[in-house]
């Protein structure tokens, strides 16, 4: 695939594993339990994009913005100026819901559609190239029935495909389970799935990273050890195979 059609995450080893970058316009499901590094990976993806001149939006529904920025300030990759200049926009979907007069805890199908419209309008208006929604699970949790969730997910999939920006959707799963989503539907709108897990070695938890699928590009399916440090953010190293 031509370089122009690839979206470089800026995470060196990740880009190497997907032949240089994620196909532009893809929707990637970032699956993991609490503490697996989903939010940090999404933020690093957006910040690195902004450094390349690609505007990004981070929609959160799980964490207040002040907490999110406070957590990110410790990372060397984080650049406050990119937030202040609008190259990376942080938007709390609960505040948007309030402004739209929606019940922030329970969405009807109309509420969800209204929220999707706003999301699309923001992305269009800002000419966004990279998007992160943290998390799809928390969004779906506010919908009342499986049918509503299914309908919402497919509409979201169509909207994201139309927007042509590369999107990371985070999906929360219980720890130590190998499933991609809470509702079993989220993975069907995804072009790519990245699974963040952990393994226990002598009582210590080692974060792991594995690309399950990435449509349209040859990619590795090797399991990596994932390190998150304030200096280097997310880094990957091949996981040692020997059992502890």
């Amino acid at each position: 695939m031509a370089e122009d059609n690839l979206c470089k995450t800026g995470i060196e080893e990740l880009d190497l594993q997907v032949s240089g970058g994620i196909p532009t316009g893809s929707t990637v499901l970032m699956v993991g339990s609490s503490g697996s590094g989903k939010t940090t990976l999404c933020m690093q993806f957006l910040i690195n994009g902004a450094k390349l001149g690609e505007r990004g939006v981070f929609f959160t529904i799980t964490e207040p913005l002040f907490k999110l920025t406070k957590n990110m300030e410790g990372f060397k990759f984080y650049d406050k100026k990119l937030i202040e200049s609008g190259m990376v926009n942080l938007i709390d979907l609960r505040i948007i819901s309030e402004r739209l007069g929606l019940n922030t805890e329970k969405y009807s199908i109309e509420d969800a559609a209204a929220l999707l419209d706003v999301l699309r309008d923001i992305a269009d208006e800002l000419n966004v190239k990279r998007l992160a929604i943290d998390s799809i699970t928390a969004l779906c949790y506010r919908l009342q029935t499986k049918e509503m969730i299914r309908d919402f997910i497919f509409k979201l999939g169509s909207s994201l495909a139309a927007m042509k920006c590369t999107t990371f959707l985070t999906s929360e799963v219980p720890p130590r389970t190998f499933q991609y989503s809470q509702y079993g539907i989220e993975e069907f709108i995804a072009d790519g799935i990245i699974f963040l897990g952990d393994i226990e070695r002598k009582g210590d938890l080692i974060r792991t990273f594995q690309i399950i699928k990435m449509r349209g590009i040859p990619h590795s399916r090797t399991k990596f050890a994932m390190s998150i440090s304030s200096k280097d953010g997310v880094e990957l190293a091949p996981l040692l195979k020997s059992k502890a």
Partner: protein, 192 residues
Amino acid sequence: MVTLIDSLKERISNAVTVNQSVGILLPGNNYTEFIQALLEFIRVRPQDAWVYVSVTKPYENIAKQFGDLSNYKNLKFIDCISRASGISKTYPNCTFIESPTMLEKLGLEITNTFKEVDENVSKYLVIDSLSTLIIYNDLDIVTEFFYQLANKTRARNIHSMSLVIEEEDTNKYLNKLIYLNDKILKVRDSFI
């Protein structure tokens, strides 16, 4: 009069500058002399870049025993043991790994530290020690780590020095593992 330290410095010099990887079989009672000789050798080679991975002793203890290590501009430490021992102090020339079981993280830190060094500078890595690593990890995983590290250092033209502290019950397999190196240096009192 030639001392053990002088003799060790000379042997370190002969071994590490010529060979890509050197395994050091070191009796426990010569550990202190060897580290002293190594640090003195590093100090007189400011043109080289050294990374010292410490699993045996916390950085703080090494610094207390061998003097102010922050003066060594050509030496960076990666300490795998302080955090696991509940020591939380930080030092500018030392990176701390949470636990000696986090071998992938250790590999990343070694790579990252050498990345900051100019390409034309000769690079040296010290692993102190493989025998301590197997206290915290299973032998299989240390072997895999060591193979991976040996391949990586060779590919990047980094000289390596891996220590095995010999005790009466030194694991025979570990003795074999160290023979993966290009050269083995057996430290003996008879060096003097």
